[in-house]
Amino acid sequence: MSYLNGPRINFYGGISINVDTANNDQYTTDGKPLLDLNDASVCSAQSDDDVIAYLREEVSNSKGQPYFVRGGWNYYGDHQVVLQQAKVSSSGAPGAMNQTGGLQHLPVYLLGGLEPGTGKGPYGGAVMVDIDPTSSVTSQIYAGGFQIGGGDTPALLVQGHAVSHSRLLGLRYSTSRVQPPYLTPGSAWASGTFQLAFRKQDIVSFDDSDPVLAAIINDPRSQGLVVRYSLFECFPGNDSASVRADLKANQNNANPSLGRVIGSVGAWYADELASDPLGRLLPNVKLGGAQGLAWLDESAARLSLDLVSALEGDNIRSNGQANTGPIGPNLDYGNLIISAGERQIASVPSNPGGYYEWGGLYDVALSTEAVALLKAHPIQITSDKNDLQITESRLRISSDARNLYTDPSDTRKAVTVRVHELGGPLLTPVVLQLSTSSPGTLEDGQFLEFPATVQVPAGATEVTIDLEFNAGSGFSLLEFKAVCASDYHMAFRRYPEHDYSALINAGNIAWADVYEHCLRFFYVLFPAMSKRIPLNDEATIQAVAGELLKRIDESYRPTTLYMPLTRALSPGKVALLRAYLNQLNGD
């Protein structure tokens, strides 16, 4: 089972992603980096004010065009992720979706997390964190809940900590055919899909009288619910000139990436991963990286397709701020033609103008013969307009292990990788080939020790691989390849060894040491933090020591409240900061 063949609630709207961009680079000057992103330290001998001024300097891109400031398009971002006017657009069971009922048009919210221990809050929203800040493939969104409906009695209220990872990353728009209204990052053309999973005990309340909610939550096969959402057309709401003028006037406003979101809520079935649903992988071979999913429901003789991230969009909105109205159309594919075993078995209108109201999902009724063909052969989807070419990856590799933090004291870790063939157990043995590379612009940390190949026998659905860590640190991308499979990767951040025991054991830790080793990096790179707590002010840190002690505790790490949000402090630095804060508290 998957949300694709269970009851679902679809929604769409806008999204604001307010990531800080200043840590996307180490800013090499005179051959030396200004920052050490792995170490979370400022290498430069410049004053804080000078570093900040440097990050606020106007710069050009490789073509000599004005491109925001050195710290990127959002130096003042605070990492909050907010759904904007996202509303339920349809709900029901596969093949019987409708746009009526009590949920229709209700607002949909991602929530921030409650405080561990006290259960108080939420005091902030969901947050996006890149495990490697220089990478475009290692994004995570942490959330603390989900809600449908407003007011004191929402239709659904879920409160639990969950993290989702960017998947199905690829193009949604042809970079040569459509352009955003002004110079923007490459994300303007891309799409990515995230999935949060909440357990049943996280469901605080729901409207049991709503048949769809009841069907999702009361299903005994369900262990909770998933919130799956695809982001696309994400680019800074303000252009380069506006941002420069804003900073020049010292208004220092954030410039979040504003995008579109299409999502679905469904059951999290017992045999599913938390962060990736079951289903067959559908790459669009003509649009780099674009992918969808399919679920064949044999008993219902129905093929359900998630093509949100597989079909090409027809245009990018021309107003960066206007991300909450109806979503622009897809390329008009006419009818989607589904084939298997070189036989055309079904077709469905592509609905380019209204697909998003149905979650970008298609339910296709099948004949008995078509079911048999789809069980035995990869899915092909073509079109009678605009030449769509989707060909199923026979093998699908996936895992809940997607973005992993490891401490210097960790010596090994076992990761489980799911390998399916045509949506089920392997029909033939498979050899996975493993290698590492750099996830972003920094060099591969090369701290992973792993087998070059892993055999997965026929009949298996997963394999567990033992990884070992050497003494290195930094960032690394572990890639999995196999014949007839789309590549899969896991990203790692291994913290460096920092030993401040001499400082800690000597007692009376000096503010200057704590600031330099633990806080300065964040003071200059993340001014949004200092809008709340000026990190360079000893008296303020003294005044909020108790609160900071909580926020750096490991119990906060899975939450939206962990400090720092970027999770860039090594255990050694956390230990130094904790010792200092305890010292302030008199402990």
Partner: protein, 412 residues
């Protein structure tokens, strides 16, 4: 930039324009000409409803000035109530100055401060810094929320006071939240709609100051030695208001609405008056502006150089010009709104902080040293009850909550 002459000239020009145009209109059309817009009279009534969250900066700036005028209206006989028969600007004792201060709310040993009307309306004793843990030494009392003290160009410290209105006061008293033990155990702090806090900054006026450019009062001010240590003595002094924050729990705004005002001569030399916090001829080791004395090591009595980092928005400037003209002839014409700040998305459960706008708001005498990163709402969103168990709904006043007296035999 505002100046009195410009405003007067503007009004004169408008009158002349009206005289020139009216006959022409009368000739061209026999229908009665629309009456020229009548100035809206100043109101002693504190506005209740803030503009819509998607309202303009102009709308919120107007709202802020309505608050400023109502709060600075002459006080009546009852605490916190205006004398609407009195002319605006005609009294040193304004409505908000009859609110209860944190001194009157948080009594030693957590004694019940009693009903709102209890006690006489007293002169302030100016000794508290803007935001201070209760257990900080008294010499910390003239420090700003962040960055240390602020010494004016005459070598005198800037003093801060915090006052709360009746709604706020009664919320604290009714719940016993003046007691540090009780507020520390509170499950949730949520001020009712209508709660309001005023944080004000004052400086001692000297003979060379033009007192008519200040809202003044006579206060008992704590005296400090040259090292900034509290001498334990107070003296009576005439002080002038140099800054004022207004924080209001408006209906529909759980993150409150915010506004901050300054006296126009704080840092700006364009009015022909020596600025109170900036000397363009500064010489010596401590002339770099906006750097905390805690960093520079400047002595307590050394004037701190302050400049405005973020210019006022054009919309705010226009609103200021309008209101300064309307309060002309009173000391309040020498005040200007720096900016309002409000949550543009106040009711979104996925966005509890509400997306403050404008992002950066700094008062040069209340946030002198953190202006580039100063944001009322972001800072106050971190406010917590003593012990940190829960947030305190954007209010820092519980930092002043007092421990109850120990019972006899209880260890000290």
């Amino acid at each position: 930039m505002y100046n009195k002459v410009t405003c007067s000239q503007f009004k004169l020009a408008r009158r002349l324009l009206t005289l020139l145009i009216l006959p022409a209109v009368a000739l061209a059309d026999t229908t009665p000409a629309p009456a020229p817009p009548m100035p809206v009279p100043l109101s002693c009534a504190l506005p209740v409803q803030a503009p819509s969250p998607d309202g303009s900066l102009t709308a919120f700036s107007d709202f802020s000035w309505l608050q400023f005028v109502a709060l600075n209206w002459p006080a009546g006989a009852q605490r916190g109530v205006p004398d609407c028969t009195a002319a605006f600007g005609s009294s040193e004792k304004t409505v908000w100055q009859t609110y209860k201060t944190t001194d009157q709310l948080f009594l030693p040993n957590a004694l019940d401060p009693g009903p709102w009307d209890a006690g006489a309306v007293m002169l302030f004793t100016l000794e508290h810094r803007a935001k201070a843990p209760a257990d900080l030494p008294v010499e910390e009392s003239v420090r700003q929320a962040v960055g240390g003290w602020l010494t004016d160009q005459h070598g005198n410290p800037t003093y801060y006071s915090i006052s709360v209105n009746r709604v706020s006061y009664e919320y604290v008293v009714t719940n016993g939240y003046y007691n540090a033990d009780i507020i520390a155990a509170a499950d949730k702090v949520s001020f009712p709609e209508g709660a309001l806090e005023v944080k004000a900054a004052w400086r001692i006026l000297v003979d060379s100051d033009d007192h008519s450019r200040y809202h003044t009062m006579t206060a008992q001010v704590t005296e400090y030695d040259s090292e900034g240590n509290n001498t334990g003595r107070t003296r009576e002094a005439v002080v002038g208001m140099v800054g004022m924050h207004v924080v209001y729990r408006a209906p529909g705004f759980p993150q409150w609405t915010w506004a901050t005002f300054e006296q126009v001569d704080n840092t700006d030399a364009s009015h022909g008056v020596q600025p109170s916090y900036f000397n363009e001829n500064c010489s010596g080791p401590h002339c770099t502006p906006n750097v905390s004395p805690l960093i520079t090591g400047a002595p307590f009595t050394a004037p701190n150089q302050v400049t405005r980092v973020t210019d006022l928005d054009d919309e705010v400037i226009a609103v200021n010009q309008d209101w300064q003209a309307r309060v002309e002839g009173t000391p309040f014409q020498y005040y200007r709104l720096i900016s309002p700040q409000w949550p543009t998305d106040p009711s979104d459960p996925g966005n509890p902080q509400g997306s403050p706008f404008p992002s950066t708001v700094a008062n040069t005498v209340l946030e002198s040293y953190i202006q580039p990163i100063s944001s009322c709402m972001d800072c106050h969103s971190t406010a917590r009850v003593p012990g940190n168990a829960t947030k305190s709904n954007y209010s820092f006043i519980f930092l002043f909550a007092q421990q109850p007296a120990k019972a006899q035999g209880e260890s000290q």
